[in-house]
């Protein structure tokens, strides 16, 4: 124990050993179930669904508004992005600065974001400031003015930001993947071009807001130090001017992802490559979803997974390898990804395909399934351990047509999954042939070895 090297410190070997030797791992104590809070769930007269939860751990309230916001018109993407950038720049009553000042007075923030499926308004405030936050939200929803000078400035900024965003390798890979797996379906249109944004007018924003930022079909979630019964009435009162004769527009389901060759995308001089593989998954409402969830976790859904243990902890090919399900309303897609140094790109793809094949051929063991199951249940519990986490989870579930009862029952469903059910799902959904995808890389440096593996095409000349 006290022996030292001549340099005055113990050696690595000495540090790793004690006289007492290895010690046994303490057992887990009795697991207590996850308490899922009561949710007051009401639809107010405008058709807006309101979920309210009391969680008074800190004197705050979290707010999530989701408005289905799809449109098949290719011009929609640019209009929707600029609308979300300019929505908080002025109403009939308040200027951009006045809106922000009023929110700040009660410690509140509001933000707006948009994607091909929905528009989201996200906020938080000191609990006493909820009436103010609702008043500002109502003002924005009913009378956002899109002042011409503000729209002009936000348009310039958005074009600049898009330039910066498109320089990110992960964005280059994402755009290529969306086109590869969904073709021209609107779900693939996540970022407009600068030219498309330049063409958007103030009149288009006002028309889009009037026609598509509507309450029917939308969901508002409020979680925090509040009285849930009373807050429903507060919302009804505060948002009474927000109404419409038609519901918000849901995105048409995208096509299921089908297996195909990987498309190579050339990024000259890249020192690291993006591997992005995708296959069809299933929605959370599918009765086989719990088995699918566990199969995915064993593959790459958490750190103690086959992908991470192989690509990172054994080979050192990547900092992060993972697989995840992206949910649409009634379907899902599986995404498997890693970023790897240029000279090991082909080797990393080979290992990734190997693990996909192995998941079906050498199915998850009981130990693997049990570990994934405990993590799935525990991380669900941990994700609900804050106002913000609970609000986000409820908002996401609601948009998928699920409710808090689904959440409450999910640990039981996970507990009931058998190893055989996981194996069946693994064989059916994770086969290498089920995958398409892209590889963004310096093709001059990686192309020959990637093509030698087969199942790789491109790059398309531009």
């Amino acid at each position: 124990m006290t022996a030292t090297t001549t340099s005055g410190h113990r050696s690595a070997g000495q540090i790793g050993r004690t006289e007492a030797g290895p010690r046994p791992l303490p057992p887990l104590a009795t697991f207590l179930g996850a308490p899922v809070p009561d949710v007051v769930d009401a639809t107010v007269s405008s058709g807006l669904r309101v979920l309210a939860v009391r969680r008074p751990t800190v004197p705050m309230v979290e707010l999530r508004l989701r408005v289905p916001f799809a449109d098949s018109d290719p011009a929609h993407t640019a209009q929707a992005e600029l609308l979300s950038s300019a929505m908080l720049t002025g109403t009939q009553r308040r200027s951009r600065v006045e809106l922000d000042n009023e929110l700040a007075t009660v410690g509140a923030d509001l933000g707006v974001g948009v994607d091909p499926e929905r528009l989201g308004v996200y906020g938080s405030a000191l609990a006493d400031g909820l009436p103010t936050m609702l008043d500002v939200l109502a003002d924005v929803l009913t009378s956002a003015a899109y002042p011409p000078a503000e729209v002009d400035r936000e348009r310039e900024r958005l074009v600049e930001r898009i330039t910066v965003t498109r320089a990110q390798p992960r964005v280059i890979a994402r755009e290529a993947l969306q086109r590869r797996r969904y073709g021209d379906h609107p779900i693939s249109r996540e970022i407009p071009t600068g030219a498309e944004v330049e063409a958007v007018t103030q009149e288009q924003l006002r028309a889009l807001h009037a026609g598509a930022v509507v309450p029917a079909g939308s969901t508002l979630v409020l979680v925090g130090d509040l009285d849930p019964e009373a807050v429903i009435g507060q919302v009804e009162q505060a948002l009474q001017g927000w109404s419409t004769d038609h519901p918000a527009t849901e995105l048409d389901e995208p096509p299921l992802v089908r297996g195909d060759d990987l498309l190579l995308v050339h990024r000259p001089g890249a020192v690291q490559s993006q591997l992005r593989l995708s296959a069809a998954a299933m929605p959370r409402s599918d009765e086989r979803y719990p088995a699918f969830q566990l199969a995915n976790m064993v593959l790459g859904g958490y750190f103690s997974s086959r992908l991470v243990e192989n690509l990172r902890e054994d080979k050192g090919y990547t900092y992060s390898a993972y697989s995840a399900v992206e949910f649409m309303r009634n379907s899902g897609s599986l995404l498997v990804e890693a970023d790897t140094a240029t000279d090991v790109t082909a080797a990393a793809l080979w290992e990734m395909r190997y693990e996909l094949g192995r998941l079906g051929l050498v199915p998850p063991t009981t130990d693997e399934v049990d570990s994934a199951r405990r993590y799935a249940i525990g991380s669900l519990l941990i994700s609900l351990d804050s106002q913000a986490g609970l609000a986000g989870t409820l908002s996401a579930l609601t948009s998928a047509g699920l409710d808090v009862e689904w959440l409450r029952r999910h640990p039981e469903r996970l507990a009931a999954v058998t190893t055989e059910e996981v194996a069946a799902v693994a064989a059916e959904f994770f086969a290498p042939t089920a995958f398409t995808g892209v590889v963004v890389a310096d093709v001059d440096a990686t192309g020959e070895r990637l093509r030698a593996l087969g199942g790789v095409v491109g790059p398309e000349s531009s």
């Binding site: 004197p59 951009r96 006493d128 910066v164 390798p169 020192v271 050192g316 790897t340």
Partner: protein, 439 residues
């Protein structure tokens, strides 16, 4: 608003020091059936030796590679297989290791942390593997993307002269590749002594139970000499220092300003005034620089300000106040600097008005409550502030301390920045110069 500020939840805290010197901080809170365990070690990238840039972070990776009772991969599997999540991170002055788990796994988490603090399994194979992993991390976050390391890696060498403060905490590839197992042994023996670490336990537990478990698992780690913490103090630059960095992947120019901040240990009130200066300058649409540069002059795309290189109250002295902006190529960097200086001068002369300051204080209160509401954030804030400043209570006191800051204190902070030395880092897009990006 004033009512909200007075009902800040004050965490229940218990402290003790084990005979081997290990400090223990317990913060019980039975609101959810979740517990967290964090080990903060009093060494960060400022302490790594010359020629071994990035070593503190590389060593953090090695601490996940197994220990006397745990094979490689076992740590991850035991945490996640108990339903928990984990991570670690390396900062200027400390390194943290933590997990958050269902209550039932508390003793297991303490065992896992104690085993690696007692006897980590440092092997040549794991060292080589993690050097590769860290290099991939650096390619991901720095080398293969635009604005990589902006400003946290690129600004310090402009503002500081000494190696501890100026060097790249992620490390140069040549240094990382030369790291040896003996370096790792020396680093562990020197810095990971129990007297140089703090264990924080937060969440759902009985204090006496947790104390007994901490003592059982950590108590027999032999005491070792605790290293004397050096001062990293160096004088602020007398005037402006400027550096231009080409970035082959960046589509737009960017710039970062670096100023020195007050020592939060010696002069917390001045430090908090600088925190509020950052908000007054750039937090929200109504902030000074957003109104002037983003909307009024229309010369920057986005602008932000931060007290602390890696965030507020995350380091000892010296630390850095940053202002960063991205702007179109038609706008000259000096035009942006002039506008920032004019706004700093205006704040130095007139100060913020009281209502303006109250709005920023209210937003900070919300941010602190948000931090406290998530066990992982609450635990890490308690642990880091206890380790750095000996004051975990700061976590609960900050809303009131910030509310007590006067407009003239913020004006003084603005004046100090306006008149003192500073670093200016200019990022220049250099798309034709591909070799620069490849390193």
């Amino acid at each position: 608003m004033s009512t909200a500020l007075t009902k800040a939840p004050t965490p229940e805290l218990h402290r003790l020091t084990l005979p081997n010197g290990l400090r223990v901080l317990l913060a019980p809170d039975r609101a959810s059936p979740v517990v967290g365990v964090a080990v903060h070690v009093d060494v960060g990238f400022r302490s790594e030796p010359v020629g071994r840039t990035g070593f503190a972070h590389l060593f953090e990776h090695l601490m996940f590679q197994g220990s006397e009772s745990l094979e490689k991969l076992a740590h991850f599997r035991h945490v996640q297989g108990s339903g928990g999540t984990f991570n670690g991170s390396t900062h200027q002055d400390y390194t943290d290791y933590f997990e958050v788990l269902p209550t039932a796994a508390l003793e297991r988490a303490l065992f896992l942390e104690a085993d690696r603090l007692r006897a980590p399994r440092l092997t040549e194979e794991n060292l080589r593997n993690q050097i590769d992993v860290v290099k991939e991390e650096i390619r991901l976050n720095v080398l293969n993307r635009p604005y990589g390391g902006f400003p946290w890696i690129l600004l310090p060498p402009v503002l500081y002269d000494t190696f501890p403060n100026a060097h790249n905490g992620y490390g140069d590839f040549t240094d990382l590749e030369q790291a040896s197992l003996d370096d790792a042994a020396a680093f562990f023996d020197t810095y990971y002594a129990p007297g140089n670490a703090l264990v924080t336990v937060a969440g759902d537990f009985e204090t006496d139970d947790a104390l007994a478990m901490v003592d059982k698992h950590f108590g027999d780690i032999p005491a070792r000499p605790t290293p004397i913490r050096p001062s990293f103090a160096e004088p602020p630059p007398p005037g402006e220092r400027r550096h231009t960095e080409p970035d082959a992947l960046a589509p737009l120019p960017a710039l970062a300003l670096g100023y020195r901040v007050a020592d939060p240990t010696a002069d917390l009130d001045s430090y908090l005034a600088q925190t509020l200066l950052a908000s007054t300058l750039a937090d929200g649409e109504a902030s000074r620089l957003q109104q002037r540069l983003v909307h009024g002059d229309g010369i920057v795309t986005d602008i932000s300000a931060s007290c602390g290189l890696l965030g507020p109250l995350d380091a000892r002295d010296p630390d850095t106040f940053t202002i960063t902006a991205m702007h179109p190529p038609e706008v000259a960097a000096d035009q942006v600097l002039t506008a920032i200086d004019e706004e700093l001068g205006r704040l130095a002369t007139d100060g913020p008005d009281a209502a303006e300051l109250a709005r920023h204080t209210a937003r900070w209160s919300s941010a602190f409550y948000g931090e406290q509401d998530r066990l992982m954030h609450r635990m890490l804030a308690l642990g880091s502030r206890e380790l750095l400043y000996g004051r975990a209570e700061l976590v609960a006191e900050l809303p009131q301390r910030l509310a007590a800051v006067k407009p003239e204190q913020v004006a003084a902070a603005a004046a100090a920045a306006h008149e003192g030395g500073r670093a200016v880092l200019v990022i220049e897009p250099s798309a034709d110069n591909k070799a620069e990006a490849q390193q």
